[in-house]
Symmetry: C2
């Protein structure tokens, strides 16, 4: 988001995939781990070690469940590694709580329903500044004047002894965007109120509907169940993912979900999903 | 070796690479970990977890330094994983010791010289059975007769009331093969006596000779130093590996080593090196 890069979960090989997709791991300043099943964090120790070996000195903030710091500390102890950068660890609980606030956004946890402690993450952009309306703007304004306009101030035109109101020269801030990441979880309506109206929802869909019982047993969801949550929460767009390796062809996931919630896409390794400005 | 598959060290992504190179991880029954730097074991928890999820029930034997079992137990504790198969852990020390003996081979550790505890592994085939000499063999022998011949027994031909001596019908067993894996280590002549005369030596060569001081500081070796060990130990063939990522072109490793020890090859990701029967 803007110049900030966030990493959510970090399975084995994540550092190689970041490299393969030309994403610079060094730009990441916040890493969020949903739960301690290996497919969600076995790449973390490798990524943190490589950042260390590549000379990172900037602080890194890590958010994850109890146990994660113990696992990392044990690994670093036996490899006799003293990180060259500060790694701040925020231990998460199985409750809804705000965990990060920057100038641009807030992040809070979303309690999910999995076999072990597991939380999703809800990113909410803050309301930005007013936007300059190029159609009504007088020429030759200074940077100072433009900044004041974005902050909602009026403009005083000394030459003509005239006040332009802010409403004349600016447009309202664009609507703040929001993204909810919900994996892994069984079908869990408790999350609906919290994620209501988000622009983008990633919801796991490990199984198709023929495996609904297996989904319940293993605290996973079907594509239809993910779509039902998207519909109940009136989200803008649904992204499916976390498909069981038993399925070769992913198109039935999209078909099943679309019968319940039309604006659905499949997440595919290496593909970007852009939230429009 | 024969029907036995051994895995030596297990860096991040090892399970994906086994899959990519069509090696069945399920066939591995012994895993050896030299030391606890991440590039040698960060793929282990993922491999062990995948074997579990894929339904393995056969025992697996793991050999590694102190700390490895604690790391794995901590990870399995927080993921609430109870392996479906028995994982036997043999804790290694910084000494030379026999750690495995089967019908076919023995394995012992090779103390190396690295920043943390680190041992290599020496595989020695046992002397096999005598081999049938097809050129002198009478026709139509039973499986029982053939097995007795391989065990060194003579053959009694009842029809002709004649004894064929074992020497007439068999060839001596082929020479037992041996393989030493030595990584990671600084230049360390102490290992020479132990690995003397092995058919195949894998010796790390992290650096070229221009970085000899850096090699010493970091307890790694140069290609020339690896070749010097190969020469002192009169091994059959030397395999180089563990190249620093600073080098794009690996051919200078081979050139430098060959100035000291001719029968050298580069290990390349995904390539097989076969010890002739």
């Amino acid at each position: 988001m803007g110049q900030e890069f966030f990493l959510i979960d970090c399975g084995e090989g994540a550092q190689m995939q970041l490299l393969a997709y030309k994403q610079k791991a060094v730009r990441i300043r916040h890493i969020f781990i949903s739960h301690l099943h290996g497919d969600h964090y076995f790449g973390l120790a490798g990524l943190l070690s490589s950042l260390h070996l590549n000379g990172r000195t900037e602080d890194l903030r890590l958010y994850g469940p109890p146990g994660l710091s113990e696992i990392l500390i044990t690994q670093f102890k036996y490899s006799d590694t003293r990180l060259q950068y500060r790694l701040h660890f925020r231990e998460l609980a199985q409750v809804r709580e705000p965990i990060l606030e920057t100038d641009q956004l807030t992040v809070e946890t979303i309690p999910l329903n999995h076999r072990i402690q597991c939380t999703g993450f809800l990113f909410r952009e803050k309301t930005g500044k007013r936007r300059i309306n190029k159609q009504t703007l007088p020429p030759n304004l200074s940077h100072h004047q433009l900044r004041r306009l974005k902050e909602g101030k009026d403009l005083y035109d000394a030459a003509e002894n005239l006040i332009h109101t802010n409403e004349q020269l600016t447009l309202p801030p664009r609507a703040p965007r929001s993204y909810a990441y919900c994996s892994d979880t069984g079908y869990f309506e408790n999350m609906v109120e919290q994620i209501s109206g988000v622009d983008l929802l990633y919801h796991e869909s490990t199984f198709l509907d023929d495996q609904r019982e297996r989904a319940t047993e293993t605290f996973h969801s079907t594509a239809k169940q993910a779509a039902a949550i998207a519909k109940l929460a009136s989200v803008g767009k649904l992204i499916l993912g976390h498909y069981s390796s038993r399925y070769r062809d992913l198109s039935p996931f999209l078909e099943e979900a679309k019968t319940v919630f039309e604006n659905t896409v499949l997440s595919i390794e290496g593909e970007d999903i852009v939230l429009e400005e």
